[in-house]
C-alpha cells in the first residue's frame, strides 16, 4: 500500500510536466477573426485620388489561397464606400489633387467599422535638371524578307543625370521614376506611331543614394536597391545632388512609313521626380525590407522577430501615399535621326 501511494504521488508530480511539454509546433493566435477595413489610396498632384477600400483577410480565410482574378468573386474586392475630404471639406471622388492639400480618406461599414488615413501633398521639387549622354549607339535594319517595309532599330546605352536641388529647412523625401514616351499626333485606330521605345535595363543599383536605407552588412550579402527609387535629403540637405542612372540596351524602333503623318512626332525619356510624404517613404522602405532584407530572411527562418507592418491607416491596414511629381522629358528624336542618317549613308 505504501509503495502504491508513493507511485501515485510520483505520477501526480509528473503530471504538470506532461501537461507543460505537450505542445504543438503550430502557433494559433488567440483571435484572428477581427476583420477591419483596409484603405489603399494614392494621391498624386494633378490627378484624381485612387482609392480601394477592402476588408482585411483572416489567417484562416482559405479562399485567398485560390484567388480568382474576376473582381466579382475576388474575396477582397467587395466595394466599400469611402469619403474624400480635402482640408477637412468633403469633395467628390473626381477631385483633382492640388499641391498642399491635406487629403483624408474615410470609410465605414456597419460590420467592419470605420477607417481613415490621411496625407499632406508635399511641395514639388524645384529647379530639376536632367541630361542624357548616350553611348555605344548601334543602328540596324530589320527587313522581313521584303514582305514588309524595312524598319530600323537604334540601340544604345547611356548615363542619365538628374540634378535635384533640395529645399532648405525642411526634411524632404523623393521618388525617382523613369519611363519612355512616344508623343504622337492623334492617330486613328488604323494608324501606328513612327516610333516604339523599349527603355531597356535601367540600373538603379549603381546610384548609391537609392541604397541609403541599406546597411553595408546587407549590401555585402548582395542586397541592392532592386528598383527602389526613393531617397531622402539627409545627405544633401539644402544643397543639390546629381543622380546618375545607367541605362543599358535601350532600343527605339523606327517605322519610317509612319513618322510624322499628322505632325511632328517625338520620342524620348520621361523622368518623374516626385516629392513624397514621409509615410510614403516609410511604406516603400517597408516593402523593400519585407521582400529583400536579411531581417526578413531571418524572420522567415524564425531567427528574428516577425517584421511588423507599416500603415498610416487608423485600422493598421492600408496606406495613403502622396506624390507631387515633377516631369521632365528628354527628347531623343535628334539622336535617332542623326544615327539613322549616318546608317543610311553607309
Amino acid at each position: 500500500m505504501e509503495v502504491l501511494k508513493h507511485k501515485i504521488i510520483n505520477c501526480l508530480a509528473l503530471l504538470p510536466l506532461l501537461v507543460l511539454t505537450a505542445c504543438n509546433d503550430l502557433y494559433i493566435p488567440a483571435d484572428t477573426n477581427e476583420h477591419t477595413l483596409a484603405i489603399l489610396a494614392k494621391c498624386v498632384v494633378g490627378d484624381t485620388v485612387f482609392v480601394k477600400v477592402r476588408s482585411t483577410i483572416s489567417l484562416d480565410d482559405k479562399t485567398i489561397q485560390s484567388v480568382s482574378t474576376d473582381e466579382s468573386t475576388y474575396p477582397t474586392e467587395k466595394i466599400y464606400p469611402y469619403q474624400l475630404l480635402v482640408n477637412g471639406m468633403p469633395v467628390p471622388h473626381d477631385y483633382i489633387v492640388q499641391q498642399g492639400d491635406e487629403i483624408k480618406v474615410t470609410a465605414h461599414d456597419d460590420i467592419l467599422g470605420s477607417a481613415y488615413g490621411s496625407c499632406t501633398m508635399p511641395k514639388p521639387c524645384h529647379n530639376v535638371k536632367a541630361d542624357f549622354k548616350p553611348s555605344l549607339v548601334m543602328v540596324d535594319s530589320i527587313n522581313y524578307d521584303g514582305s514588309r517595309p524595312t524598319i530600323y532599330s537604334v540601340k544604345f546605352n547611356g548615363i542619365l543625370t538628374v540634378e535635384v536641388t533640395d529645399s532648405p529647412n525642411q526634411h524632404d523625401f523623393y521618388s525617382f521614376g523613369l519611363d519612355s514616351y512616344v508623343d504622337s499626333p492623334v492617330l486613328n485606330d488604323y494608324e501606328l506611331p513612327g516610333f516604339n521605345f523599349y527603355s531597356g535595363f535601367v540600373d538603379l543599383d549603381n546610384e548609391p543614394i537609392f541604397g541609403e536605407h541599406i546597411s553595408e552588412f546587407e549590401s555585402a550579402f548582395g542586397n541592392r536597391s532592386s528598383n527602389f527609387g526613393c531617397f531622402t535629403d539627409r545627405q544633401f540637405s539644402g544643397n543639390s545632388y546629381k543622380l546618375h542612372i545607367q541605362i543599358e540596351n535601350a532600343t527605339i524602333f523606327v517605322y519610317p512609313y509612319n513618322i510624322d503623318k499628322k505632325g511632328k512626332e517625338d520620342v524620348g525619356l520621361s523622368i518623374n521626380l516626385s516629392t513624397i510624404s514621409p509615410d510614403t517613404y516609410k511604406w516603400n522602405c517597408f516593402l523593400w525590407y519585407s521582400n529583400y532584407s536579411l531581417m526578413y530572411e531571418m524572420a522567415d527562418a524564425g531567427l528574428a522577430p516577425y517584421m511588423p507592418a507599416f500603415s498610416n491607416v487608423s485600422t493598421g491596414a492600408g496606406i495613403v501615399t502622396a506624390y507631387t511629381p515633377t516631369y521632365i522629358k528628354i527628347s531623343l528624336r535628334d539622336l535617332v535621326e542623326e544615327q539613322l542618317a549616318k546608317f543610311l549613308k553607309k
Binding site: 532584407s293 524564425g302 528574428a304
Partner: protein
Amino acid sequence: MRLIFVLLAVLATHLAVTAQNVTIHATDRPADEVFHSLMEQTGRNFVYPSDLLTDMRVTVSATRRPLAEVLKQMFQNTDIKYSLKGTDVILKRAKPSKADKPATTVKADAAPASIKTIMPPRPDNLLQELVVVSRLSAPVIKTPEIGARKVTADDIYRAPTLFGESDIMKTLQLEPGVVAGTDGSAAMHVHGGGSDENLFLLDNVPLYHVNHVAGLFSAFNTDMVRYVDFYKSSIPAKYDGRLSSVMDVRTRTGIPEKFNGSARLGLTSGALNLNGPIGNRTAYSLAMRRSWIDLITLPISRFALSNESEKNTVQYFFTDINAKLSHYFNDRTHAFVSMYYGKDKIGISLRESQSLTDRYDESFNFDWGNFLVQTGVNHRFNSRLSAEFTGAFTKFFSGNRMTLDYTIVGPELEQPLRNFSDYKSRNNVNDYIVRADFKHINSETSTLRFGASGTWHNFMPSHISRRYIFNSVNVAGTDTTNRLDAAEIGLYAENEWRPSDNIIANAGINASTFIVNGRAKYGISPRLSASWNFADNWALKGALTRTTQYVHMMQSSFLALPTDQWIPVSGDLKPQTANKISLALYRETADKQYTFGMEAYYKDMRNILEYKDDYYLTPPIDMWTAQVCAGRGTAKGIDFKVEKHTGRLTGHVAYSLGWANRTFAEKNQGRTYPARFDNRHTINILVNWNISRKLQLNAAWTGHTGNRFTMSMQEWDTSTSPSYGGSLVGVQAPLNNCRLPFYHNLDLAVNILTKNGYWSISIYNAYNHRNAIAVYKDIKTGKFKLTRFLPIIPSISYTWKF
C-alpha cells in the same frame, strides 16, 4: 607565450613559499570582519563551512607578521584548524579524538556540522563551501544593498552546465528578476531592461561583448573567477554607465603554495588552467578555453566532399585566454598585469568546380570578441586609507570578410578571365581607461569610498573596404571609415554609515560627463540605500538608485550576433537614465540555514533608444541617428526568494512577478506597449544535493511567461486590381501583442569526484521540452509556426587536477 608560462610553472613548483606578512589589530571583532581585512592584504580566500564561525569573535594583534602566525594567534584555544591550499585559507573543525568520539553514528544530514563531509565540485576538490570576502560577504541582513548577490566560483560550478561549461551568466539567470531572454542564451534582462543595460566588469574594466556562440556561453572562464558581485536594485555609487545591473567579476589572486592547475575535456570544448608562484612574492594564473568541434568536422567534411564538384565547409570555434601576473611588493602594495582575449569565428567556404576549367570560390568569415589588457595596483597607505589604481585598454571587435573569386578558363579565351571581389567590414570600440578607487575607514562605523575615472572611447561603427577585379581588370576599390571619439569622465563618492547596531546606510553620488562631437552630456546619479534590523534576524531595506548610460547596443535579432553595434549617444540624443526605487524585507533564521527575501521595485527609464522601425539587422551607418528614437520604459514588480545555505541539500526557490513597458512617440502610434521581455511570472529553482562525499547532484528548473512578439492577425491586399496580383501585407498590429508559450527548462548535473579530478555529467533540457524562441509564417501553408530551439543536450566532461 604558452611555453613560457608552462616553464615558469614547472620551475615554480620547486620554489619554497613563505607566508605573506600582514598587519592587523582587532579586539573582540567578528571573525568574518577580520577575514575581510586579511583577504584585502593577501588576496587569499577564506574557505570554511558556514556554521563554523557563527557569531565567533576574535582578538588579534600583529604588525607585519606572517599570515600563518596571525592565523595561529586567532585560533589558539579553539578547535579550528587552518591550512593553506592554493590561494585559499581553509578552516576546519579539528577531528575529535577517539576518546571523544560518540558511540553512535550521526547521519550526515542530521546537523549542519556535517557539512565538512560534503563534496562540492570545486576544481581543487575542497569539501567546504567557499566563503570569499567580497563587498557582499556579509549576510544579506547585514548589508545595505537590495538585490545584491555575491557569487563564488563554487556557486558557478554547482549550477548545471551546457555542453559541460560552467557559466557565471547561467548562474545569475537563476536569480529572481533576471531572465535569459532566449533559450540557452547567456544574455541577461534584469527587471525589464535590455541586454545592453548590464555593466560587465572584469577586474574593474568593462567588457562590451560577453557571449560566445550567439549567446550560448558567456565570455567569462569560470576557472579564473574568484568571485562576482552582482547588483540589480541598489547599485553602489562606484558603478555607473549601464541602467539595469552591474556584474563585477574578480579574477583569481593571491600566491598559491605551489604550482597547480587543471585540464578539462568536454564534448565540445577543452580548457587548461595553470596557477603557481614565482618566488615568494609573485604568482601567475593562466586559463585557456577553446571549442574544438571544428577540429573534427572540418577534416571530415573535406574528406567526405573530396570527390564532389562542390566543396563546402563550415567552421566555427570560440576561444578565450585569461592571463594574470600578480606581485606583492610588501604587505601594503600589490600589483598585477592581466590580459583577456576572447574570440568567436565562423568561416564558410564554398568551392565549386563547374568544369575542368572554371572555378568558383566564395568565402564568408565572421569574427567577434574582446581584447583587454590592464594593470592594477592595490596600495594600503595606512590602516585607514587604501586604494586601487587601474589602467586598461579594452577593445570590442567584430568584423566580416566576404570574398568571391571566379575564374573562367575556356578554350575560346586567350587568357583566363578572373572576377574577384573582396569585401571587408569592421566594427570596433576601443576604450583607454584610467581610474583610481579609494577606501577610507573613517571610524568603526563609517567607511568612505571615492574615486575618479577617465575613459577615451574610440568608436568605429564601420570600416569598409572593397576591392574588385572585373574580367581580369582591377577596378577602383573603396575604403571608408566612420570614427567617433568620445571622452568620459566620472567622479564618485559614497559613505557607508552605521549609526547604530540596527541601522546601516549607504549614500553616494556618481557624476559623469560624456563629450562627443564637441558636445558635452552630463549625468548625475545619486544613490541611497539603508537597512534597518527592526528585530532579530529581520531587515527592512529601502533604496533609491539613478543610473546613466552613454553607449548603447544596436541590436535587432535576439541572438548575440556580430551585427550588434555599440554606438555612443550623440547628436541630439540624450543620455539614457533610470530611476529606481526599491523596498525589501529579509528574514534569516536563527541557525543561519534559511534566508527569505522579498524585494519590490519600480524603475523609470528615460531616453532609452530603439530602432524606429524594426527592419534593420544593422543600421545604415551614415544615418544611424536618424533610425533610432528615444522613449521611455517602465518596469515594476516584486521578487521573492527562499534560500537554504547549509546542510546536504542547499539551493533556492525564487519567484518574480513583473511588468515592463515601453513608450515611444514614434512607435506604436505613441501608445505604450509591453517590452519584449515582459515576463509576467518567473520561477527559478536551484537544488544542490550532496549525496555523498564523492557524489553531488545539481538541478535547476526555470519557468517563465513567454517573451512577447508582434504578429499581425489579419492581412490586407496591396493590389490595385486582382489582375495585378499584389501581395498580402500584415495589418499593423500593436507592438508585442502576442506571447510565446510558457518557457520551462530543467537542467541536471552530476559531479563525481575521483582521485585526480572529477567527472561532470550534465543534461541540459532534461525532459526535452524544446522551447519556442520565435514565430514565423510558413509561406506554403500561410500558417504561423513556432521556431523551437535547444533539445535535450547531454554532455560530459572530465577535469583533471594536478
